[in-house]
């Protein structure tokens, strides 16, 4: 029987002899992840399940990233409990200043390799699809079960194949590609499915760009967004990991639920206007929208690629006097590399704030939440009402070129207005 990529991955992680979309199976995890929000809720549930120890300490990793550095005493206590739990269970813990935002971090640190299953207590665990892994977001009770037994129940998803055709014009990034997909299939179009990204336009993407694409698969309702592993994946993993992996892809005659073609040649930079990631318009249609804040960061768009793009706009320019620009390198190592390349200097010189790696205001936690009536352009993944602060605030999602250009102009503009020529 021909199988899709996700079916092959799941088959290798279950006892079932064969599987088809709709089947309910138990899936074994290679990695179980949680953070300072989902972790402590899961630990309590695990205890109530009657399990005292995790199934395999080598396969469990916890990251402090949401309320870090602690925004108040309650968050500090939460972070403390996370740390103590990790110590008592003997599992890997990335504490404050020693890691960064979980999804960028786990890729960087070699936890994620193609063909594996990663259960994460965070909806953006789908980011790991960028490396060909079935990373999928689960709630705390699921995570508790994974911690205790090393597996979770799963309805075998169908596959929506997304073919990126052609080559990207300047200023088109992974962010624009996934926004185009969400615009096409809708915010619930991927429910009970995975997205699989193929075609010349997919293969041409760097891992940073792929992270941005896979990260927002959940904004289309999908369980993950898979890039079949290729030479780019192999080069990225070289030196990062000793975990074994093989490159798999869907069989030629595998059954897809749907095939979507996205032509890249004619694509404009896209923005998702308030209050839905599915409210996608070309940047030209948002031109002139006045803004108060720019936020460049988050688990998929706080990469070195994003910081370089932002720096290219901000170099020798000033953030508009009316605007706050907050830049959040996703991990400590990205931060250090940005420092080495002089990017941090560019940001500070331009009048931007450089934050430590943290989820921060991406989910409205702290470090840059918005007041009523304020409007922001961000490289994050959700612009739900109230997501970044007041329910009366507005958020436009965009790529780092667009966000940085808006910071300078004080309003949304096409980045080409600043940069005549750009490195591809």
């Amino acid at each position: 029987m021909p199988h899709t990529l996700v079916e092959k991955i799941l088959l290798a992680h279950t006892d079932a002899a064969d599987i088809a979309p709709g089947d309910i199976i138990m899936v074994r995890c290679d990695v179980v992840l949680a953070n300072d929000i989902s972790g402590p809720v899961a630990f309590r549930a695990m205890e109530r399940m009657g399990a005292r120890r995790v199934f395999d300490p080598q396969k469990v990793v916890m990251v402090a990233d949401h309320f870090t550095p602690a925004k108040d005493a309650m968050s500090a206590a939460l972070l403390r409990s996370l740390e103590e739990w990790c110590e008592s269970q003997g599992v890997t813990f990335y504490g404050q200043g020693r890691g960064g935002i979980e999804h960028t971090l786990l890729c960087e640190e070699g936890w994620v390799v193609p063909g594996t299953v990663i259960a994460g207590g965070d909806s953006h665990t789908c980011t790991y699809g960028a490396l060909g892994a079935f990373g999928t977001g689960l709630g705390s009770t699921d995570i508790a079960f994974c911690l205790a037994f090393g597996e979770f129940w799963q309805v075998v998803p169908g596959t929506i194949q997304v073919v990126f055709e052609g080559t990207r014009p300047p200023f088109i990034t992974g962010k624009d590609l996934i926004l185009a997909v969400i615009a096409h299939i809708g915010v619930a179009g991927g429910t009970n499915h995975v997205l699989e990204f193929v075609g010349a336009g997919a293969e041409s993407l760097s891992i940073d760009e792929r992270l941005a694409v896979s990260n927002m698969a959940v904004e289309a309702g999908a369980e993950t967004g898979l890039f079949p592993a290729d030479a780019t994946t192999a080069a990225y993993l070289q030196g990062r990991t000793t975990r074994p992996w093989v490159a798999e892809r869907s069989d030629p005659h595998a059954q897809f639920a749907q095939r979507v073609r996205i032509a890249l040649d004619a694509l404009s930079p896209l923005v998702a206007a308030p209050h839905s990631p599915g409210n996608v318009i070309p940047v030209e249609d948002a031109r002139g929208v006045r803004i108060d804040q720019v936020y460049i960061g988050n688990c998929a768009n706080g990469t070195l690629t994003d910081l370089r793009q932002a720096a290219e706009v901000l170099r020798g320019r000033r953030v508009h006097p009316r605007v706050r620009a907050i830049i959040v390198p996703a991990t400590s190592s990205i931060y250090r590399q940005a420092l080495r390349e002089g990017l941090i200097d560019v940001f500070l010189e331009a009048g931007a704030i450089v934050s430590p790696p943290t989820c921060g205001a991406c989910f409205g936690g702290h470090m840059g939440v918005l007041a009523a009536g304020e409007r922001a352009v961000t490289t994050t993944n959700r612009n739900f009402r109230g997501r970044m602060g007041s329910p009366e605030a507005e958020v436009y999602l965009a790529n780092a070129w667009v966000a940085a250009s808006a910071a300078v102009a004080g309003e949304i503009v096409h980045p080409a207005e600043f940069l005549a020529e750009v490195r591809a």
Partner: protein, 164 residues
């Protein structure tokens, strides 16, 4: 299993878990505390309209976005035992099942319901009654029904640990 109750309508589509339980309150771990922030970003007055027998009746793609289990935990803390929706987002749906909270997708039943409607859900017969009108609902896979019948994944896990 049979659930009976009174409908509280949240008629919009794509209601996300951020508005159902906003980010700033995610540092709470006790469901009895969580419950005071349920619906906070959507309409806090919904909390005042919850009754002992409330069944939430919701639109398409309910519970989209974040995996925060605070939403169904807070619902359970208010005594909600059942939701009927046009459709549910995947992680939210899983979380409900795992907490023993029945979430039934049935568009016709949602269209027929209004605030205060009397609902009766019979999982064995696979039907929902809305003010006496009967609608067929998709049957719950036996595996998921087993988790719900146990009272959720915690109890299901305890059973697995004790029976080996």
């Amino acid at each position: 299993m049979i659930f009976e109750g009174t409908a509280l309508l949240i008629a919009r589509d794509n209601v996300d878990t951020d508005v159902l339980y906003p980010g700033p309150y995610l540092n709470i771990v006790d469901p009895q505390q969580m419950k005071w922030y349920l619906f906070e970003g959507l309409d806090p007055s919904l909390r005042d309209r919850l009754r002992e027998d409330t069944i939430l009746v919701v639109g398409e793609n309910f519970g989209a976005g974040s995996s925060r289990e605070h939403v169904p935990l807070a619902m359970k803390a208010w005594g909600i035992r059942c939701l009927v929706g046009k459709s549910f987002a995947r992680i939210f749906y899983r979380n409900c099942i795992n907490l023993g909270l029945l979430a039934v997708p049935c568009r016709e039943a949602v269209d027929a319901a209004r605030d205060g409607s009397r609902l009766r859900i019979d999982t064995d017969a696979g039907v929902i009654e809305v003010d006496g009108r009967v609608f067929r609902m998709p049957s719950l896979p036996p595996f998921l029904l087993d988790i719900i019948t146990c009272g959720g994944l915690e109890a299901w896990a305890r059973r697995r640990l004790t029976t080996g």
